[in-house]
């Protein structure tokens, strides 16, 4: 256990040196995506082959034997084989990165392992077959050559995918915990707070509230017991930035929390992680145990009077717990229901004590600001929203995955340059940003800079950063119904506008998508939306109607087509589909007639059959039975 600043520096130097002894590194992505593609088996296979070939290799930076630390392979040059965090390019997984060349192999299988060792590691040759290929067939040798990465600015994700996420030693080897060291020994509480305030670090969980101001407010409280809480309850469907940070670079986040605790005068913290992220929970547990063992968490850290202990609290599947007061209630072991504010969390938060509550990505930004300074930080991004933002890019897009871009990057750059455009050459229709609290942006918004204030003006919000891209096969009314059904299900039930209002809105949306829409429904939705937004208690309720409002605003004609013409222009709403038999292809075999459960199909054998659309329930049973593919949906 280290007890002084000097010991910490010595330790860090040792690991930096150990890192340099690893001539080459093979990094296998061990994020949730690549693991499901079999990356752990690939890791084992590579390790096995290297042993067979006698290639000097180590799975760790150093050997630790009952407290004694020695360099691997007697300090001689060797290959480092590591499980890294998520690279973000999940679509192409399992991913294997080769250093120092910076090559990236995509969609690697078990059969490729021998070739990787023999060709690349032993002979030093690139395997073009395994590299990423662009649409025109050209090979991208290096990871940074791939268009998906080229346009990104990776700051908080810079080490995600480049270091072993389960090792504090690796974090030391890239200079880890030096920001904390600087804050602890060279800065006063006010200096830390001023630096973060000056950098204008805004909460990445969606609200965009300045983090420095929050910390200052907690520091000024009379009550001496304070908490630092990390919101890792990333419940927005279609968002996984925080998961990737927790899984891929947990120590960066811990370091940010430790600096926040130091600045606000707290000695205890909680990380609230959703239960759907079991890998993040286990990585965080490992990271905390390692930091405790080294002496960076616990009492009298590095011989100072600063003490900090961290706990993990697992969520149990309630979206509303992403709201501050609901989250603290859940950590306290209660139902996660928001309460009336004020008093605010900074005055009266966890266990009724002053509490700093920020999300994962916000904390991950802190070490960078402390280390490089506010003026450097402000040189990235826009004036009102400095820094970068991580986005989860998903939906009907070519390159799905995790990206990080400077604030102010336009949607067009994100979707078409990084994302590679729409799948299957379909037409771009809209993008849902900010999850169930956000809004839908369309073609005309493509040149909108992505930052807190521009999006707010456009009627959307950055939210936690989920970007779900939709093509022309997505029905916007159906999308609105989908979000409303999510919010209705997740409404905690405490206040009437949200509990009853979302139910009514969902019922109206359901009947519209089922072709039962009535005149005046659209106006009724707008009225309900207004009322809920104005009267609901918490953020979940206030924003519940946003997806409906923004889809009505941008796609009113689509709503009208459903209500007035009983037609779904995108052809997505099941009940509004027409199933027809193509008379030219029908051979009159009568198979479809026999498969129809409601007797809607009739005709004479050897003559074209017809479907009675009044009787048809659109179950699609006939579609699969027709041997001549004569039955189609329209």
């Amino acid at each position: 256990m280290i007890k002084t600043r000097q010991e910490l520096q010595n330790l860090r130097d040792k690991y930096i040196k150990a890192g340099a002894a690893q001539k080459s590194k093979i990094l296998i992505c061990a994020g949730t995506g690549c693991v499901s593609g079999g990356s752990l088996e690939i890791f084992d296979k590579l390790s096995e082959i290297m042993e067979k070939r006698g290639v000097p290799c180590s799975l760790e930076l150093v050997h630790e034997d009952e407290g004694d630390i020695s360099l691997c392979c007697d300090g001689k040059e060797h290959i480092g084989l590591k499980k890294s965090g998520c690279h973000g390019f999940c679509e192409m997984g399992p991913l294997v990165r080769i250093e120092p060349q910076g090559w990236l192999y995509v969609k690697v299988g078990l059969d490729d392992c021998e070739e990787i060792i023999d060709e690349t590691i032993i002979a030093g040759r690139h395997i073009a077959r395994l590299a990423y290929k662009q649409g025109d067939g050209s090979v991208c040798k290096k990871q940074d050559d791939i268009p998906f990465y080229k346009k990104q600015t990776r700051m908080i994700l810079q080490d995600c995918g480049h270091i072993d996420a389960t090792s504090i030693n690796e974090y030391f080897a890239i200079g880890g915990y030096s920001a904390f060291e600087k804050a602890l020994f060279d800065m006063t509480q006010d200096e830390i707070i001023n630096e973060v305030t000056e950098a204008n670090l805004r909460g990445r969980g969606g609200g965009g509230f300045p983090a420095g101001r929050k910390w200052g407010q907690v520091k000024r409280q009379k009550e001496k017991k304070r908490y630092v809480v990390c919101n890792g309850d990333e419940g927005d469907p279609g968002a996984f930035m925080d998961r990737s940070i927790m899984e891929g670079d947990p120590h960066r986040m811990l370091e940010g929390m430790m600096i926040a605790a130091l600045a606000s005068g707290s000695d205890e913290g909680y990380i609230y992680v959703r239960a759907e992220y079991p890998l993040a929970v286990s990585r965080l547990r490992t990271a905390i145990a390692q930091a405790e063992k080294v002496g960076l968490l616990g009492d009298n850290i590095l011989g100072t009077d600063f003490s900090f202990n961290l706990h993990i609290s697992r969520g149990a599947g309630a979206f509303v717990c992403g709201e501050g007061s609901a989250l603290t209630a859940s950590i306290e072991g209660k139902r996660g229901m928001p309460r009336v504010k004020p008093p605010r969390t900074v005055e009266n938060g966890l266990f009724d004590k002053p509490t700093v509550l920020n999300n994962v990505e916000t904390y991950a930004n802190v070490p960078l600001i402390i280390e490089k300074g506010a003026s450097w930080y402000k040189s990235i991004g826009t004036e009102g929203s400095p820094g970068t933002k991580a986005f989860a890019l998903t939906g009907n897009i070519v390159n799905t995955g995790l990206i990080e871009v400077p604030m102010g990057t336009t949607l067009r750059e994100v979707i078409f340059d990084i994302g590679g455009g729409m799948r299957g050459g379909r037409k771009f229709k809209g993008v849902q940003i900010g999850g169930p609290s956000g809004g839908c942006l369309t073609e005309k918004d493509l040149d909108l800079p992505l930052d807190f204030d521009s999006l707010k003006k456009a009627g959307a919000m950055i939210g936690s950063g989920g970007l779900v891209v939709m093509d022309d096969s997505s029905c916007m009314v159906e999308v609105a119904r989908f979000f409303m059904s999510f919010t209705q299900n997740e409404s905690c039930g405490k206040c009437v506008p949200c509990r009853e209002g979302t139910k009514r809105m969902l019922a109206i949306l359901e009947r519209i998508t089922e072709g039962e829409g009535r005149e005046g429904d659209i106006e009724l939705l707008e009225e309900l939306a207004d009322t809920i937004s104005a009267t609901a208690l918490c953020g979940l309720g206030k924003t519940a109607a946003f997806p409906v409002v923004s889809t009505i605003k941008n796609f009113r004609d689509e709503y009208e087509a459903h209500v007035c013409d009983k037609r779904c222009p995108a052809g997505a709403c099941q009940k509004l589909k027409q199933i027809v038999i193509d008379a030219a292809l029908c051979k009159g075999c009568s198979k479809c007639m026999r498969s129809c459960p409601v007797g809607a199909i009739s005709g004479k054998v050897k003559e074209p059959f017809v479907i009675d659309s009044e009787k048809c329930i659109k179950c699609g049973a006939c579609l699969t039975t027709c041997p001549f593919h004569a039955i189609t949906e329209s």
């Binding site: 949730t32 499901s36 990333e234 469907p237 072991g333 139902r335």
Partner: protein, 158 residues
């Protein structure tokens, strides 16, 4: 009340978290991991040991989606219906699972306690959409046909 219910495991779990009010959720989670659901017998014990009312424990258990008061199947299949999976057609996958296992949105577990099928809002594996998990193992880029195949394999393991 089932008198023969073995409280030893329950006590062990409570001891490992410390008998404080704030441990309710963690204790319930661990009990559910052990029994695959929350047997009704445990509520009074938890309430007594943690010094809270039985109603409070019950209110927590019914508030959070992850808790189940009914026994679950050996294989718990979660179909992700987050936005990304939804726009890449997760519903046909759910429908196929339900029809193959003769389940509905009300009846989530098969009578032989072999399978439980549920939906989740987002598993955070959106890059691989649509995804399902079977006992926390992630299966990426699913289709209705792949699901049928997977079910066959799981049935053999049963």
């Amino acid at each position: 009340m089932n008198q023969s219910f073995d409280m030893k495991k329950v006590d062990e779990i409570i001891d490992s978290y410390g008998a404080s009010q704030s441990s309710v959720i963690a204790v319930l989670q661990e009990i559910q991991e052990h029994y695959r659901y929350l047997p009704k017998e445990v509520f009074s014990r938890i309430a007594k040991r943690l010094g809270v009312s039985e109603a409070r424990v019950y209110s927590v258990a019914t508030f959070y989606e992850n808790f189940s008061l009914e026994p679950k199947g050996k294989f718990i299949i979660k179909v992700c219906d987050g936005t990304a999976c939804h726009v890449r057609k997760s519903i046909p996958i759910l429908e196929r699972l339900r029809s193959e296992l003769k389940l509905t949105d009300k009846k989530k577990t098969t009578d032989d306690l072999g399978f439980t099928v549920e939906t989740v809002s987002c598993l955070g594996a959106c890059g691989l959409a649509p995804v399902i998990t079977v006992n926390d193992k992630v299966y990426p880029a699913m289709t209705p046909d792949k699901v049928t195949e997977l079910l066959e394999q799981l049935k053999e393991q049963k």
